[in-house]
Subunit: 145 residues, 2 copies
């Protein structure tokens, strides 16, 4: 999660909502990514989708069966769906997202009947992950006012 | 939807689950795509995510506010989440997907509180869209047996 936080900091420095993600297989880091929706001008450039895309490219297939995903914010429906589609069995996230979190907050996408069900833990390094996001939005409000 | 079906046929010819998608803005076709998860070896290569990715690239931003998406199968959670994230206001799909459809069958992702809510219609050219998929799975079972 420390590495995912470093990725989130890169997003922060670019003026993007600071979310970072890392895909790991055993002891090896397979892919790292951060949210770059604004600078990349693309709705698909969330940290998790980008990390999953890179991991599939790196491993040469759409199934990430032996991988674990670390992400600083609870995945949104798109990203949680991508995790299910990529068959990632284990997810650890930092801050909870009451409005849009699709693991357990706003939705329970990892418990869908007749579908692949990743295990997950939330609240990992929660304080660090959420304070970076809070700081980002505080600064954004300051700039706007 | 006829154009989306032509895209689905391309997937069929490659041995992919035959789903096709088209993004339209006014009278203009902005992006076309088909499912190529197996041949592209990537979990993100669903027809809708690919079409949304291309449309964002073409229009130079992550918001597809004035676009309409046509897709031959009800979007899965990942793709429905991508539609919400890209702010696509209108979706038309062909076949319903009882197991994984995230518009109205297995989930209602387009009615999430405090989130963007695309309008949608299902069952557009349903017979053509679903028979292509049924034929695909029938042939797949034949090959396996």
């Amino acid at each position: 999660m420390s590495l995912a936080l470093k990725e989130a900091q890169k997003a922060y420095d670019l003026g993007e909502v600071p979310v970072g993600a890392v895909v790991v297989k055993g002891d090896e880091v397979i892919a790292t990514a951060y949210n770059r929706r604004e600078t990349g001008k693309n709705a698909l450039y969330h940290a998790e989708t980008e990390a999953i895309f890179k991991a599939c490219e790196r491993l040469g297939g759409w199934r990430l069966w032996e991988c674990t995903l670390y992400v600083t914010l609870e995945p949104c429906p798109m990203c949680a769906g991508a995790i299910v589609n990529a068959r990632i069995p284990e997810v650890h996230f930092g801050a909870y997202d009451d409005k849009n979190g699709a693991c357990c907050s706003a939705l329970h996408l990892f418990n869908m009947e007749n579908n692949f069900q990743p295990k997950f833990t939330g609240g990992v390094m929660e304080e660090e992950c959420s304070s970076l996001i809070k700081e980002f939005f505080k600064n954004m409000r300051k700039k706007k006012s």
